[in-house]
Every structure is written in structure tokens, then in C-alpha cells.
Symmetry: D2
Subunit: 289 residues, 4 copies
């Protein structure tokens, strides 16, 4: 087994003294060689969060036995959430797109080059503009138009749901998908549905954020990668970034300059998610970057 | 007269072809040695903006004659706003503070070291906490408490207005002044009243922006230097900046980290203003930095 | 002719009063509608630089007549360098690559999506690793291995020269090409040969810059897009950027994090170059961004 | 005892499995309430580093007993370096300055406002320019000129050494002190002697870094806070930062713009040092920020 075969353990539980000791003693006892460890005690919520990355070869058993044993520790610590993932289990991503291609190119390039260690199940578009891009990279493309009327929309999202769920994806990425996702899908895909918003949230929610930014005369624009919740552009933020702009930049310039930030922030946020580096604490995220 | 004696000419007018030719021909005709020139044509508003910095010694007459002649050009161009300032005319600043001192220390340090080429007329506080800081730097401090009731508040702001206007200041700076300025003062001091908001506007307007930022879980926090208008935290932005934060930063950490950004952005914004580098275009600013 | 048909005029000459007046009067006289204008007077070198972007439709003649007339102005101003380019004349780019693909994916994606308004003549690699990427995008790939011995190397670069020059490219881009370009080619392609160095120049010239950065313990790493001169990694810088790193980042992390900066800086630098936004002043560049 | 009474434990030792378990079990056993914990395993050097911050009130004994007990753990772990500091023990800083005051104002403002929780023993200058600034803040100033000749220089530094050592400072800060510190003092003050270099090291070592940066035509300038070692500008880096500049910025502009970065980076680096957040690993630093 290669040197980079890893197990990742994550856990969140009510905070108290001795948790780190309990977890690290557990790992020491099974001989686990920790390659990366991160901890966070949140004063506000009174919760504790950890992520441990260990060499698979250092543990004398497989991931299912590790999961069983770590489950006992999680039980003791009254964990509200915990996970053991095996880097050998390849993840799956599904992409939803509309007409803007820069985020799609970015993710497909990272996938094609092997930088993103995940499979891409399907690219779904409500327009056909980006079908050639998916095809270019040899990926299946599904065109599911989303009509304006409620019934048509419901039917479309039922199709989308089926097309997505067929892949049981670890991440459903809205790569500049310009449709509002119905609340029940936000619910169903909660914690797996990731959006890139082309504005520095919570500023400029909703439509045409660059135009809003231009009108307001801000001196920096940004992008936000976040989990989608039922409330529009209000889900937990994974990552953000900004760039400086000035009075000489037209709305079209902001759109152009923003693209580079959007795709970089989305790629980074998705990587954190796929690496199990993001833990959630209500509206806040713990990102063990 | 020293080498750094300069005239600064600013002008905004409806855009059309030939404006730059007209202005630069005017300057060439009077022998003006341009040390810095900036232009902006705004597609959106259809207005033209310029700032020209010229060596005083290169012009065969003084600032009042220059003003008269440039006024003729401005008239031809149907300028809605124009100005000739003489670097030999020292500017005056008045500061309003509450309890947080970091912005005050920053501005007084720059003033004391000569980096800020302006006089500070008076420091006015609604609390006495920062009186020792003003005194330390040998500056007068006026304590004008602002009561909670409408009548008391009106009386207090009448006093503040008199205390400020006595200095006919070029800039009235709210250096973390924690009181809402009455609309009539915003009006009276329009274009001279500068605030530092401890949030990345338009996000987190109003009270406790760092706490708001914490709760929302943003990954960057910022500060905004802006002209004050009657609507709270909604005036034209002069400058902004951000820093990266993460889940480990408590609200108290955000407050602490934010201080460095606030004072840097305020100092930069004020410098732009005092150097006549900021032209206004409705809610937007042209900053010839 | 479409609204975005533009002429770009650039010029550098010895500085003196009246240059801007001369150029803008020239443009006003021919009815030129300036959509973007930039000027720079360099105190140090005593030279003046300008770039003017005008709507083609506003001028009552074509680019060759404009070139002839502007040449007269340039002559009067004793310009050492001037140019009139027509946005209708499509530019050509040639790419040289080795094994690292992220910059190649970035540029090909921008080309494929139409964001980069230029043709890509050929992709040349000293290895075949990236041939599939060029083919993916439907582009010709030439494999020209570069042997270690002087004679083999000379023969290889003669081939490369012929393959490049066949396209008379406006830009020859070293997109992580891991070979030192011979001095005579640096000379022949001077001002058109663009490299992305994976270090914040002038730090970490030469090989393995991330490893050098790691050993030195810097807290930020960067990338530099620059024109290539005969001296290694010492040509005029077009653009740079950095990201924050910390002690937890291994050399492999630096390589991974650096990729995103490299490709963004290269794409930005190349765009500036193709838009005739970069003027050279010895080792320094004027970038009218 | 107030809520913010803390003990800080730091330790570095050869890496092996079980270290975190050992340390956290030790802390759990004595009831230590960890308020902040950080760990780093360095693959390269094979060393382990940790910093633990605990509430003093949670431990049933004082700092000397804690030190004794933690010393036993350190012994077991074959620690090459470890420390227990008590936030109740106030630290002392000594400042060395020349003529540029911005870093001095910054540090004295933070000290005066209580933001920097340390005493300033003395300000030593090789010129008298900044004596008024020290006096303004009510601090003693020692003028110790440094002659150009070797004997005079040696005598001056003997005086400086005595003046510094009289305070047994936790940090000796070169706040834009424009003299090279003799090797024996670098040695004597190793790990406590902190410099702010006005360049993005390792670029632009030595004199006039902004001028060097201007000549090289870089697009960003920076500042570096580092421990001083005998080799000039080559000691372990604590923190760095940069700002974007462009062709329009003269060397004087770079100096002016750089000031803000210098003072911010120095203040941040010094705070990390005083909070025992910086551990050293040869030329690299571990900064548990």
C-alpha cells in the first residue's frame, strides 16, 4: 500500500478537559502514526472539534475496524458527529452549470490532471452552452432545462435530483449554476451541496452581485464558497477571497476580474470539503486547512 | 519657494472628446510642469474627472490668478465641480473620538512626526478616556458628552458643531466615534466628514460589526473609510481593506486584529482626502491614488 | 464593425512639457473617441509613456493611415518606441511546456472559452507528458526533446526556433518550461518571450525555488511573470503575486499552493502583454493595467 | 486571580508517536483547562513542537511547581527546549532606534494604550532625533552615538550592551536601527534580538532595500520581522507582509508606503514573540499565531 494511504478521523463533541488526551491516547494505543492533527475548542458554542490524519499502514487493521473502535471513543465523548474516511475510497462529485464556464474549466482541469482526487459523475446544465466543455474532457453531460413555471421547475428538479442521486456524490457543486435550488433539495443534500457566490457574502446576496458592488462603489470585490442552505446565499461559508478594484473598473471589468477569484475560491473550498477538512458548527465552519 | 510647492487642480464635467486636450493645452500654455496627472471617464455616469499636480514655480503667477484662469477653462467645460489648491495653504483636521484609542494614536503619531501635513484643531470626545492621549501630544481636548435623550443630544451636537466649525476644518474625522451624527451635520459637513467603519461595507452596517462577522462565520474581516451621509454607514467609500481570519478567532480576536486594518485604512483614506485625490461621483468615489 | 473594434496607440519618448497636449490634440483633431488613456512620466529615467485606446469607428480612416499620422507625432516627440495596433488583427501565441500542466490548462481554458483573444499556434514540449492536454483542446503538439550535451541542445533549440518562428508569434510563453533558453533566442524574441517563475523574484532565482523558500523559512511565497532576458530570471517583471504560508506547509504544500498563484499571475501578465499594456523602461515595466 | 491569568507551556523534542497523548494526559491529570493548543510535527527536521495555554486558576498549584512537573515530562520526551511562562510575570522590552520614527511611534502607542502587555525599559538611539518621541511617552532615552571607526564602535556597543542588559529584557527590538549589531551581541541576545527589515527577505538584504526594489522593478514590496543572527538579514523570519506597488511609485513612494507595512509586521512579530508563540527550528520558525 502506498505511503499516501491515509485514514482521516473527524469528530465534534461537547467540550470538556481530557478530550485530546482521550483521542491521542486511543491513537497511540493502536500505533497510529499521526501525519496531521488539528483541534478547535469553540468558546462560543462550547463544542470541541478535531481532525486527525494517520498513515493507514501504521494501524494493524482496516478502516472498518478502525471505524468500530473510534466509534466507541466517539460514544464516550458523546460526539454529535464523527467520521472515519479512507483515502483509498475514491470520492464522487457532480457538477451543475449554466452558461459561465470558468469554474467548470477549472474543476475539470484539476480533475483531468489528477490534482483533484475524485471522480466526476456527470455535468448537468440548464443550458447547453457548456456541453462542449464537458465533452472535451470526455465527461457525460445532461441537459435539464429549468422552465420558469412552478410545475415545470418542480419536474426539472425531480429529474435533476434523480440524475444527481444516481451517483451518490460526496459533493454536488453549483459551478455558477444560475438557478435557486428548491428547499427540499437543499435539505436532502445538506452538507454536500456547495455553491460559489460571486460576491463577498454577506454583501451582495442574490442576483448580479458585481453590478451591486459597482453601484455601491466598493474598493474590493470577492467571492464566497459556501454550503447551500434553504435561505439564499446564507449557508455556512467555507472560504472567501477578495481583490482590489478601483473607480476605473466597469461592471464588465468586475465580472472579468472576479472570475479568477471565483474559480480559485471554489477549487479551494471543494478541496477542503473532499479532504474532510470542513466541520460545521451551526452557521460557522471549522476549516482545518 | 521649495521644490515641493505644488498646485493641485481637480475638475469634473460632462464627458466629451477634447477635454484632456483642452486642459493639457491650458497647462502647456502657462508653462505648467505636471508632476502627476490622472484622468477618468466614467461610462456609467457619462462624466469626466481629472486631477493635475503641477510645480508652483513653473507657473509665472500665484494661485489666485491660476484659479481665475482655470475657472475659465472649467466654465468652458461646464464643470460641475473644480478646485485649485495650493500646497502652501496648510489644512486643518478635527477629530472626534470615544473610548477606542488606536485610530487616535495612529493619526496623532503621523501628525507629530510630520507625515500628515495638516494641523489638528481639536480632539473632541464624548468620553474622557482619550483625553490623556490628546494631552500627551500637546493637543486640546474637548469633552462633550452626548446624553441619550433627544433634547440633550441636540444640545450636545450644537456644541460639537460650534467646536468643530470654529476651526473651519478641511476634514472632520470620526476616529471610532461611537455616536450617530445628526442628519443636518452630515449635510453641513458633506464631503468633509470621514468615518472609519470597523466592517467591510456594505456588510455589517451598524453596531458591533465584528460580532456580526463572527456570527456569520466570514473568513475575512475588513474596515471601510467613507464619507458620512445621512444614511448610516451608506456614504461613498474612499478605501477598504481586509485580513484573513479563521474559526479559531474569537470575537475578541476579530476586534484586536481589526484594529490594525482600521487605523491603516483610515490613515490612507484621510491622506487621499487631504491630498485632494478623492472626487465624488454620486455614491462612488474616484480616488487618484 | 462592432463596438469593441479598437485601436491601441502606445508611445514612449523623452519627457518634456506639452506631450499630453500634443497627443490629445492629435486625437481630438481626428475625432478619436478615447475609451481608455494612461500616462506615466518617469522621474528617474526622464521618459514619458502613454497608451491610448480609441474606438475604431470614431476615426474616419483605417489603421494604416492612423499609423502614418501617429508616426508623424511620434517623430515630433522623438519617440524611441511607438505602436498602433488594431484589435481586428488577431494575435498569435506559442507555448513551451515541460511536465507541469497547471499553467497549460489555465491558458488553454482561457483560449478555448474565448477569454483569451488570441490564436495558439503550437504547443512545444521537451517531454510528451502534456501532449494529451494539447490534443484534448485540439491543438498541435510538437515534441522536441532537449538533450544534455551542448551539440544536442543547440540542435534542439534550432528546431524550437524554427517551430516557433513559423508562427511569427506575438508572445512565446514559457508555461513552466524547465529549460534555460539560449542567449541568442532571448535576444531574437526579446520583448515577446514571457516566463512564469515559481518564486517571488528577485528571491529564489534558478532551480527549485519552493524548496529554497522552505529552507529559508519565508512566510509568504510568490510567483513572477517576466520578460526573459539573457540573464536567468533577471528580466523585466510584468506581474507578481504572493500567498501566505506557514510552518505547517511542507515543500510539497508550497508546490501545490504555488500552482494557483503561478497560473493566475501568468494569465494576467500574458493578457497585459497581448493588450499592449506593457511598456518597457530598461529593467522596469510600465503596466497600464 | 483574574480570568486571563494564564500559563503558557512550550516544548520541542524529537518526534515520535504518543507525544501529544503524553502532554495532554499530563495536563488532564493536573486539571489544566487548555484555552489554546497548537502542535507541529516537522517532517523535515523530525522534530515536534507544541504550545499550550492553560488557565492558571485551573491548576491547584503555582507556576514553579508546574515548571517542575512539566520539566519531568520534558525530560521523558528528551526535549531540547521547553518553557513555562506565567502571564503574571510582566515582560520587558528595550528599543534601539536611529532616525526613522514610525516603528517607534507604533510600539510606544501600543505600549501606552495597554495593547502591548510589557514594560519598555529604555529607548536607545544612535541619533537624538527620536529622543522627543520617547520623552513624549515619558520613557527614558539614552543617546549612544556609534562612530565609524572600529575602536569607537566597539566602545559604543559595549555601552549599548550594558544599557540593554541592565534591563534583562525579554526582547531587544531594532526598530529601524541603522547599525549592524556586532556578532558577539547577536550571540549574547540570540532568540531575543528582533529586527524589522524594510524588504521582503531574502530579497533586498542590506542597505536601501526600497531603492533596490525600485531598480529591480518589482510589483510588490514587503517587510520582514526576524530574529537577528550574525549573518546580516539572514536570521529566522517571524513574519512578513507585502503591498502592491506599480510603475508610478517612485523610490520615495516605496519608502512611504513601506512604513505602514514595516510597523504592522514588527508589531505583529513582537507580539508573537512576547506571547511565546514563536519556536525555532534552525533557520525556520514555528509561529503558533
Amino acid at each position: 500500500m502506498p505511503d499516501d494511504h491515509k485514514y482521516v478521523l473527524t469528530l465534534s463533541c461537547p467540550d470538556r478537559t481530557g478530550i485530546v488526551a482521550r483521542i491521542t491516547t486511543f491513537l497511540a494505543d493502536i500505533g497510529g502514526w499521526i501525519t496531521e492533527a488539528a483541534y478547535h475548542s469553540d468558546d462560543d458554542s462550547g463544542r470541541f472539534f478535531t481532525r486527525q490524519e494517520i498513515r493507514a499502514e501504521s494501524v494493524p487493521f482496516g478502516s472498518s475496524e478502525l471505524r468500530r473502535r473510534f466509534g466507541e471513543v466517539a460514544g464516550e465523548l458523546v460526539a454529535d458527529s464523527w467520521q472515519v474516511t479512507d483515502s483509498a475510497d475514491r470520492k464522487t462529485v457532480v457538477l451543475l452549470v449554466s452558461r459561465e464556464g470558468h469554474c467548470l474549466y477549472e474543476l475539470l482541469s484539476r480533475w483531468h490532471s489528477g490534482e483533484m482526487a475524485a471522480d466526476i459523475g456527470v455535468v448537468i446544465g440548464n443550458h447547453t452552452d457548456l456541453e462542449p466543455v464537458a465533452r472535451l474532457f470526455g465527461l457525460p453531460f445532461r441537459h435539464i432545462p429549468v422552465p420558469g413555471d412552478a410545475a415545470g421547475k418542480a419536474a426539472a428538479f425531480a429529474q435533476i435530483r434523480a440524475a444527481v442521486d444516481a451517483h451518490t456524490p460526496d459533493a454536488i457543486v453549483l459551478a455558477r449554476y444560475m438557478q435557486v435550488i428548491p428547499a427540499e433539495l437543499c435539505q436532502a443534500w445538506e452538507g454536500r451541496l456547495i455553491n460559489i457566490h460571486h460576491g463577498f457574502l454577506p454583501s451582495f446576496r442574490g442576483a448580479r452581485p458585481y453590478h451591486q458592488a459597482y453601484v455601491r462603489g466598493v474598493k474590493m470585490i470577492g467571492a464566497t464558497c459556501h454550503y447551500v442552505s434553504a435561505e439564499l446565499d446564507a449557508g455556512p461559508i467555507i472560504d472567501q477571497d477578495v481583490i482590489r478594484v478601483d473607480h476605473a473598473d466597469s461592471p464588465a471589468d468586475l465580472v472579468r476580474l472576479g472570475r479568477d477569484i471565483e474559480k480559485a475560491v471554489l477549487a479551494r473550498g471543494l478541496t477542503y470539503h473532499l479532504d474532510n477538512r470542513v466541520l460545521r458548527d451551526g452557521l460557522r465552519t471549522i476549516v482545518f486547512g
